[in-house]
Symmetry: C2
Subunit: 156 residues, 2 copies
DNA sequence: CGAGTTTTGGAATATCCTGCCAATATAATT
DNA sequence: AATTATATTGGCAGGATATTCCAAAACTCG
């Protein structure tokens, strides 16, 4: 899908405020509401806009501990990976699971929990018990310097 | 701030769809529109809801390469850290910057770029040139198994 | 049990969404 | 350069939605 200047402007604004009204959006990009709405719908249809989310504050919810968990697997077979991934998807505290290269680990998980007790429970009772997990290394997040969801929109 | 069952239900639904209309939201949680809207506003005021974002698809934007960059600093002084953090904030390709413990690195960055050429340019021309950066280690993301923004809402 | 506080539901007004159509702009062709 | 074809826009109208206000209901605490 080819994006023109209007589309890119829409994407930038909606990445910043996903609840902008169509009128406000139309004003800011310099179009009238109807073509503006049509473009937004087209971007949604094309899958460029994948969805809209409310972003919550972890601290306000009492989730003050964020950790990165590096996981090593015993064997690199599809069955092992599928089992691990299914197990990880079922854990709500795990926000991210990346299959990575360039480290000794196979996966990096990002987890958010209340405190160290909860972290210990997560790690020992749930993560390390997933079949195939041999190595685990934890990194704790001291501070979130940058935490954006906004992708750089090409062509500016 | 104390959250009751209605609040938690609101948070769960809005984390999933940030553009739910207030009417629809009210229906689903079993309240009429006015108290529902008042609760949403209160959650926004209290900072529990930090904002609303449109989530874009990186591939659809031609951003097919995601990498994790581990950074080591020469000295752990506040000035060094502040300088680094300001520089990192100014790079739109960097979506996340975490100050971490438990690794040899000090920071972990998450970057999204078009391809390897763009990654090389980012790393060599911009990241490694930030004063104080001594060590850099790249991990490439082969697959994003889980990629949620929804925090687990306590008390279910 | 009763006074005070909080929260809810419904009505009224203002705002916004959204599909339709004519008008305009853009692109292609000869 | 003129003309046709195509795509895109702007405005309007009907319907849906947001938002405020107030009375009624629910809840709390002495």
């Amino acid at each position: 899908m080819q994006l023109d200047r209007y589309d890119r402007h829409i994407l930038r604004l909606l990445q910043d405020d996903g609840r902008l009204s169509n009128q406000e959006l139309a004003d800011r990009i310099g179009l009238s509401p109807s073509p503006c709405l049509r473009r937004v719908r087209a971007l949604e249809e094309a899958g460029v806009i994948a969805g809209y989310r409310a972003m919550l504050d972890a601290k306000a919810l009492g989730l003050s501990l964020m950790a990165l968990i590096h996981i090593s697997m015993d064997q690199h077979t599809p069955e092992r990976f599928e089992g691990f991934e299914a197990a990880v998807r079922a854990i709500p505290e795990i926000l991210e699971c990346l299959l990575i290269t360039g480290q000794s680990a196979d996966y990096q998980l990002k987890a958010v929990v209340r405190d160290m007790d909860a972290y210990q429970e997560l790690l020992l009772d749930r993560v390390t018990r997933i079949p195939g997990v041999t190595g685990v290394h934890s990194s704790f997040v001291l501070r979130r310097v940058v935490d954006k969801t906004a992708l750089p929109v090409p062509g500016d």
